[in-house]
C-alpha cells in the first residue's frame, strides 16, 4: 500500500495548466525524488498534497484512504508535513514559538513555555537536529532555520515529509548533514518526498524518482535503474548544449576595482533579515574585474553578496575602502551617477528592484533612463523614441508580451527577467553587474541569458556575476572569487578550482588563501 497516492491531479492558474492529470505514488519509508525543471509543476503538486492549493480535479489517498484537504490543518492531521523553499518562519519570534505555533501546549489559558521548550528539545535530540530553542529565528543560520522547519513538521507528527528544494540555500557540506538527517528519518519510518532539479542529489539520496515536465509526469523509476543522462533528457525533453566559452585574455584593462571594502552595521537598505548589529557584512573585500572577463562570485547566499551588489551599484556606502570604476573613485557617487558612468545592473531581487510591475513594458524599458536622451529632452518624455526603443528590445531579447502597453506584472518571470537583461545590456555599459541573473527561470531562458552574458564578454565588457548556483558560476566565469561571511576567501582562475575545493571554501573550511 502506498503511503501517498495522487491520481490524475489537475491544477490550473488562469490559462496556465500547472499540473495536467499527474499520477504520483510514494511508498512508506522511502526517499522519493520529485525531479523537474523550474516551472515543471513539482511545487504545485506538493502544495496540493499539503492542502495549500485546491486541486481542480483528481483524487488523493493517504494510507489507501481517500482524503480531501481544505487547508494545511487537514494535511497536518493526516501526518503530512512540508518544508517550503522559502522558509515559513517568523524571524522575530523564537525557535520555540515558531515550532509550537498552532499546536501550543497550554497551562490553563496561558501558553506553557517551559513545556514547549522541553518538547522542542526532546524532538531535536531524538533526530539529532541541534538548535537553540530560545534563539530568535532571524539570528540563526539558514541551515539551522531549515532544521527548525523540519522540527516543526516532526512535532506535528509528520509521517510524510515534503522537502521543497532544501539544498538550494545550503553549502555543499551542509547538504551532507541534511542527507544524514534524511537517512535517520527514513530509518525511523518517515516517508520523504524530496523536490529538486539537481541530478547529483537525486542519485545520492533517493530510492525512487518521479520526473515531471511541463506539468505532466514523464517517468517514475528506481533511482538505481536510471542514469543521470536519462534523467536529464526526461527532465528537459531536449538536448541543451552548454554555451561555449572562448579562451580568456587575462590582460584586459581593469574596469572595476574594489579596495579593502568593508560594510558593517545594522539593517541597511537592502537587508531583509536582521543579524547581530555591528557585525561585518563585508570584510576587507578587494577585487578587480577586467574588460573581456567574467568574474564569478561563488558562495552560499547571505554571505555578503547582497551587500557587495549594493556597494557597487551605489545603494550602500561602505564603512571603509574604495570602489573605482575605470580608475575613478565612485564610492560615494550614488546609483544615479554610477549608472551614468556606464554600469548596468541586473538586481538579485528582480520583482522588488528590477521592475515596476504596474508600469507597462515600454515604461519599464526606460527605467533608469527616464531623464536621459533620447527618451527625454529637457525633462519632457519622448513617447515615440520610448516606443521605438521598447519594440527593439522586446524583439532583440525575445520578450514574449501581448503588447508594449501590457503591465509587466502580467508577464512570466522569465520574460520579466529577459526584459531587465535586455534593458540593462542595451545601455552600452562597460561594466555589467549580474546578480542571480537566472534565478527561478526555466532552462530555456537560463540558457538564453547565459549566451547574452557571454556575448557581452566577447564584446570586451567587464562582467561581475554574482550567483548562488555553483554550476552557473563554473560554466561562465573566467575567474572565481568565493565569499564566506563577508570575506573573499579565495580568488583564482576558474580552472584552478575543483568542485570539491569550491564546496569546502563556501562552507568556510578554507583551504585556499585569501588574495
Amino acid at each position: 500500500m502506498w503511503a501517498v497516492r495522487m491520481e490524475k491531479i489537475t491544477k490550473r492558474f488562469g490559462p496556465v495548466v500547472a499540473n495536467d492529470a499527474v499520477d504520483f505514488e510514494v511508498a512508506p519509508a522511502e526517499i522519493h525524488c520529485l525531479l523537474g525543471e523550474n516551472g515543471a509543476g513539482k511545487t504545485t503538486l506538493m502544495r496540493i498534497l499539503f492542502g495549500l492549493y485546491r486541486k481542480d480535479a483528481g483524487e488523493i489517498y493517504v494510507d489507501g484512504k481517500p482524503v480531501s484537504f481544505s487547508g494545511p490543518r487537514d494535511a497536518i492531521a493526516h501526518g503530512i508535513g512540508m518544508v517550503h523553499q522559502h522558509f515559513m518562519l517568523a524571524g522575530r519570534l523564537t525557535v520555540t514559538e515558531n515550532i509550537v505555533a498552532g499546536a501550543e501546549p497550554r497551562r490553563g489559558v496561558l501558553l506553557d513555555y517551559a513545556k514547549a521548550r522541553e518538547m522542542v528539545r526532546e524532538v531535536s535530540e531524538r533526530y539529532g537536529l541541534k538548535v537553540d530553542p530560545d534563539a530568535h529565528v532571524e539570528s540563526i543560520s539558514v541551515g539551522q532555520q531549515q532544521r527548525v522547519e523540519i522540527l516543526k513538521a516532526l512535532l506535528r507528527g509528520a509521517k510524510v515529509l515534503i522537502l521543497d528544494e532544501p539544498t538550494a540555500v545550503l553549502a555543499p557540506q551542509e547538504v551532507g548533514d541534511l542527507f544524514d538527517i534524511m537517512r535517520r528519518l527514513k530509518e525511523g519510518g518517515t516517508t520523504i518526498i524530496f523536490i529538486t532539479h539537481k541530478l547529483k542529489e537525486t542519485a545520492a539520496i533517493s530510492d525512487r524518482v518521479t520526473v515531471l515536465r511541463d506539468g505532466r509526469r514523464v517517468a517514475t523509476m528506481n533511482t538505481a535503474d536510471a542514469s543521470p543522462a536519462d534523467l536529464a533528457e526526461l527532465m528537459v525533453g531536449r538536448q541543451i548544449v552548454p554555451p561555449a566559452r572562448k579562451g580568456h585574455s587575462p590582460d584586459g584593462k581593469v574596469v572595476l576595482e574594489l579596495q579593502n571594502v568593508s560594510v558593517r552595521g545594522g539593517l541597511g537598505a537592502g537587508a531583509r533579515t536582521g543579524g547581530a548589529g555591528g557585525k561585518a557584512r563585508l570584510n576587507n573585500v578587494s577585487l578587480q574585474v577586467r574588460s573581456g572577463e567574467i568574474l564569478g562570485i561563488a558562495g552560499v547566499e547571505g554571505n555578503g553578496q547582497l551587500e557587495l551588489e549594493e556597494v557597487i551599484v551605489g545603494l550602500r556606502k561602505p564603512t571603509s575602502g574604495r570602489v573605482l570604476l575605470n580608475g575613478r573613485d565612485i564610492t560615494r557617487l550614488g546609483p544615479r551617477g554610477i549608472r551614468d558612468m556606464g554600469v548596468a545592473c541586473i538586481p538579485s531581487d528582480r520583482l522588488r528592484r528590477g521592475i515596476v510591475d504596474s508600469f507597462s513594458v515600454a515604461q519599464n524599458l526606460i527605467l533608469g533612463e527616464q531623464t536621459s536622451a533620447p527618451f527625454a529632452a529637457s525633462g519632457i518624455l519622448q513617447p515615440r523614441k520610448i516606443v521605438e526603443h521598447a519594440a527593439k528590445i522586446v524583439n532583440m531579447f525575445d520578450v514574449r508580451t501581448a503588447s508594449l502597453d501590457q503591465p509587466v506584472g502580467s508577464l512570466s518571470g522569465g520574460n520579466q527577467q529577459k526584459l531587465v537583461v535586455g534593458r540593462e545590456l542595451s545601455r552600452g555599459p562597460n561594466l555589467i553587474v549580474a546578480a542571480q541573473p537566472t534565478r527561478g527561470l526555466d532552462i530555456g531562458a537560463t540558457d538564453y541569458i547565459h549566451r547574452q552574458l557571454l556575448a557581452m564578454r566577447e564584446q570586451g565588457k567587464a562582467i561581475l556575476l554574482i550567483s548562488a548556483e555553483l554550476d552557473e558560476v563554473r560554466a561562465l566565469s573566467d575567474r572565481i572569487a568565493v565569499m564566506y561571511e563577508g570575506q573573499i576567501v579565495a580568488l583564482r582562475p576558474a580552472e584552478e578550482f575543483t568542485e570539491r575545493d569550491l564546496g569546502l571554501l563556501m562552507a568556510g573550511q578554507g583551504v585556499g588563501v585569501a588574495s
Partner: protein, 314 residues
Amino acid sequence: MREILDVIFDINNVTATIRMATPIALAAMGGAFSERSGVINIGLEGMILTGAFCGVLGSYISGSPWLGVLFAVVGGGLMGATLAVFAIKLKADHVVSGVGLNILALGLTSWLMQVLWKNRGTSVSVNGLPMFSIPVVRDVPVLGTILGTHSPLVYMMLILIFLGWVVMFKTPLGLRIRMAGEHPEAADTVGINVHAVQYFSVILSGCLAGLGGAYLSLAQLNWFSMNMSAGRGYMALAANIFGQWNPIGGLGASFLFAFTDALQMRIQTSPIKLPTDIIQMLPYILTILVLAGAVIRSRPPAALGRHYESGRAA
C-alpha cells in the same frame, strides 16, 4: 518663570495625565492588537468617535451609564468589524479604508445626533459614570492624589492594559496574532486561520477604542459633541508605534500625550497669559515630533498592511 514651573510641576497634572491617557491608551492597545495581526488601523479615530456616541446613546436610552459603556464597546466593535471586512475580506487598502471609516463615523454620528436630539454640535446630557475612590489608597498623601479617585474606566484601563499584555505575549492566541502579522504564510501552513485571527484582532481593537470613546462621553463629560475624538485616534496610533506595538509601551506613550494635554488645559486656567489657540497646538505638535523621532528605530510587524489569501501563497 516661577509661575510657569509651578504650573508644569503641579501634582494635579499627574492625576490629569492618568485620566486623559485613558482613551488614548485603550485605543493604542487596540492599534497594537490590530497591527500585530497585520492590519493597519487608521480607523481608530472613527472607532473612538462611534464609541463616544454609542455610550451616550446607551445611557440616554436606558438611563444607566454602565449600559452606555456596553453600547460603546459594541459600537466600536461594529466599526472594527466594518474595517475588518473591507481590509481583510474585500482587500481594500488598509489606510484608505481606515480614513474612509473615519469620515463615515463622523458623518454617521453627526447625523444621528441631529436626528435624535435635534441639535448640531452637542447632544443632551445623560447620566455619566460616577467617580470611584479606592478606600485606603485615597488617604495616602501623594499616591492618593494621583491614583486614589478616578472614573472606574481609568482603573479598568489599567487592568485591561495588563491583561492585554498577557494575552499578547503569554497566551497561544497572542502567539497566533503575532505570527499572523509577521508571516501569514507561516501561520497558515501550521493550520492557523489567519483571517479569523485578524478579524478577532481588528474587532477587539474596535471594542477597545469604543471603550476609550465611552470615557470621553460618559466619564470626562456626560454628553456627546460633534467630532469629540479630536484626533485622539491618530495620537493613539502614534502612541502605539512609539510603544513598539506593545500595550504597556503604548500606555507609556499615551502618558506623554496626555501630559501635554493636561498641561495645555492647566495653562488655560492659570495666570500665564498665552493665546489658547497656540497652547492647544501642543499635543498635536508633540505627536508629530514623537512620531518623527520614534519611527526610525521602530520595526513594525513584517506583514503589516499586506493582504493575505490562503492558497495563493507565492
